[in-house]
Symmetry: C2
Subunit: 210 residues, 2 copies
Amino acid sequence: MDQDKKPPKMDINTETKIKNAARVVFHKKGFAATRTRDIAEEAGINLALLNYYFRSKQKLFDLIMFETMHGFLQSIFEVFNNDTTTLEQKIETMVNRYIDLLLTNPDIPIFLLNELRTHPEELVAKMGMKDILMDTHFLKQFQSAINEEKITTLNPLHFIMNLMGMVIFPFMACPIIKGVSGVTQSEFETLMQERRVLVPKWIHTILHNK
Amino acid sequence: MDQDKKPPKMDINTETKIKNAARVVFHKKGFAATRTRDIAEEAGINLALLNYYFRSKQKLFDLIMFETMHGFLQSIFEVFNNDTTTLEQKIETMVNRYIDLLLTNPDIPIFLLNELRTHPEELVAKMGMKDILMDTHFLKQFQSAINEEKITTLNPLHFIMNLMGMVIFPFMACPIIKGVSGVTQSEFETLMQERRVLVPKWIHTILHNK
DNA sequence: GTCTATAACGTGATAGAC
DNA sequence: GTCTATCACGTTATAGAC
């Protein structure tokens, strides 16, 4: 929509370089602990350019925050609204998508939840997720399964909290887990890989146990 | 150990007032976003007094961080090392303790995990938790149960991640959950109360399903 | 567009009166 | 011990040359 030359992987334009650097640093340290100098250095450019392209630290942050939030919720939305998959398939896909995401970007959950404490639900509202998530194919399937007594009666929110908690929490608690258990980063990642199959199995067990 | 008059609830001494205020503000905003002036205001005292009693923002923070971490891990330690309780009782107690804690102090998990990203495992090590948590009555019970084939074979770390994830994650994601689902704070707390009995039930189901 | 230099501001910490 | 006033410093943001 801007230019017709999408940067061909290298020799990326300055604006993108800054945005990528900002994403990395903001995700790792949060808004308050991040200095614009950190971002400039990470991007390999001059500090003044940051303000030239994005006006202010806050504006740049808002951009990163929105994109991160969008990317994070987008997965839920896509999977939950796919009306060609079963409930079990949706669970499996969700788990795999988030483990993929978090193995690569383990900082995202704490970044998001930490920043959302300050800017309360203004951003959540801005995402407009409330309307589209509360009327998904998933919820209809879930309700049907309960009505037909195929699964245990259960508030869908409890279900989602369990799913997200089992997948996301381990990544957030990674430093503390490694600290008290002594596992290495590599061993930790192996554990997370195991959870691709374990979590759906556990969720299934919970749902079908009367 | 200091004085023999433990403050009788009101007319608390200045040092304690500052520490309590620091705990509130640090927990809510984290180290970087907290200004010493915020703490002074919350405590109802002058900014200079903060430095008079605690020398620096960092020193005061280290104190709060240590106490918070200690209080948080202490519960796990106590419950896991109680050799008069069954595995099932330990689970139930853990869940109830943490739900109690988090209903009152919902900021603690994000505070801890967020700050632990920067000061990596130096603090975890300082707590000396590694040694005492890796040789608990709980782990022996867990291993015995597996050997006697009473429960499914399962890495205890997976078990602990599930337990903590199901209990703690919902509190961390509270703003996002309320944002996308539309539940009120009061309804959210009711859901958390329900989880006192639901989580142990789910954990039991997972453990005993072959 | 990109840089250097600097202005403008906020924050942690202290000096010194009481 | 407690306060007011102020210093010292780091950080965001901009002015202006190239």
